[in-house]
Symmetry: C2
Subunit: 182 residues, 2 copies
DNA sequence: CGCGTATCTGATACCCCGTCAGGTACCGGC
DNA sequence: GCCGGTACCTGACGGGGTATCAGATACGCG
């Protein structure tokens, strides 16, 4: 799995071969097949691990905030934290995202669970503050936006939107959509 | 390219083989290679076609609106139109998205160009109305959000967010982020 | 030392990739 | 009707990745 992660940093998922993973891990392809039936299974395991490890942290990122006293700073902290998390694990999250889009139910389950912590925290926040609009839909869309922006961060920067400006903009949307504060 | 499109509806990009495309097109693999050096090149061509065909339509979707008289309805119309467009071409757009995430500059160029019409239209709208926040960043993030929501529409529906509610929520974010109307 | 268990790997059948030389169809000039 | 040109298609093949299995190797334990 480590070797898979390393290769995924530089190689497109489509071109990720068992032979290369085995070579990177200093072993033979046959050994790989003792642990996983195919590359997809290895990715599934990596995604599951990531979900396990971060489910709680992501929800804490939202709940451990003083939303009443400092809504603006809190929104910033959340935006920044999510972007940072996504950047750190982008290669795995990319595959997770793509497989979910393609309708793979196992990956989608992991993705839903990984984001559930964050989404439910935002949902509760929106409900408690009586923000107009459906809390579930708002939270889901906001989390999705965060994921997408994180994935295309590099593209947006090339297009002339700096990291700070991005955080600023995303924080604004969180504030207005979840907290209902202009 | 038609055969590729058909297969992409049911098969993951990772598992899209030249043999299958050739079979679907009722020809031999060697024929495929007369037109494209590999599967990626075929996808590139399909994405480019899509960009060509929709660049203008997507910007018209935004500019052909009575934003002053009916901001709410206009935002709805835009949200719905983008989601519909994405749904119609989801298989190609999925690949476009993924390749862009993975840093492929050719795909990213096409994606930027495809979205440029819509993004610039929103940018102009935000600038004209003196909406707080950077117009470029706001427009970029909003368009990204639309793309992401469209890609994960099915997942959100499974999670309990109906299509109508999604359009409603997204329209709200457009209204507040671009128009500055609560 | 000897046995059981766990782990690894060389060898292999199969499939897909990408290329080339050589076919086939069509067309315009004679 | 023949003929040469052009465009397009394909069978055949070397190269390489996939997935499997039988057999080798390492290790723990009485």
């Amino acid at each position: 799995m480590d070797a898979t992660g390393v290769l995924l940093e530089t190689v497109a998922y489509r071109d990720l071969k068992v032979v290369d993973i085995a070579r990177e891990a200093g072993t033979s392809p046959a050994t790989f097949y003792q642990y996983f039936p195919d590359v997809e299974a290895a990715m599934l395991a990596m995604a599951a691990d990531l979900g396990e490890a971060w489910h709680d942290d992501l929800s804490k990122l939202i709940t451990n905030r003083d939303w009443e006293g400092d809504p603006d700073g809190s929104a910033h902290r959340v935006a920044d934290g999510m972007l940072e998390f996504w950047t750190r694990h982008k290669s795995v999250l990319r595959v997770l995202d793509m497989a979910s889009m393609e309708g793979d139910l196992r990956f989608r389950g992991i993705r839903t669970n990984l984001l559930a912590g964050a989404t439910e925290a935002l949902m509760g926040l929106a409900a408690r503050r009586d923000t107009p609009g459906d809390p579930r839909a708002s939270a889901g869309v906001v989390v999705g936006m965060l994921a997408h922006v994180a994935n295309h961060q590099h593209g947006l920067e090339r297009w002339g939107v700096s990291h700070d400006l991005l955080v600023e903009t995303v924080a604004g949307i969180i504030r207005r959509t979840i907290l209902g504060v202009a």
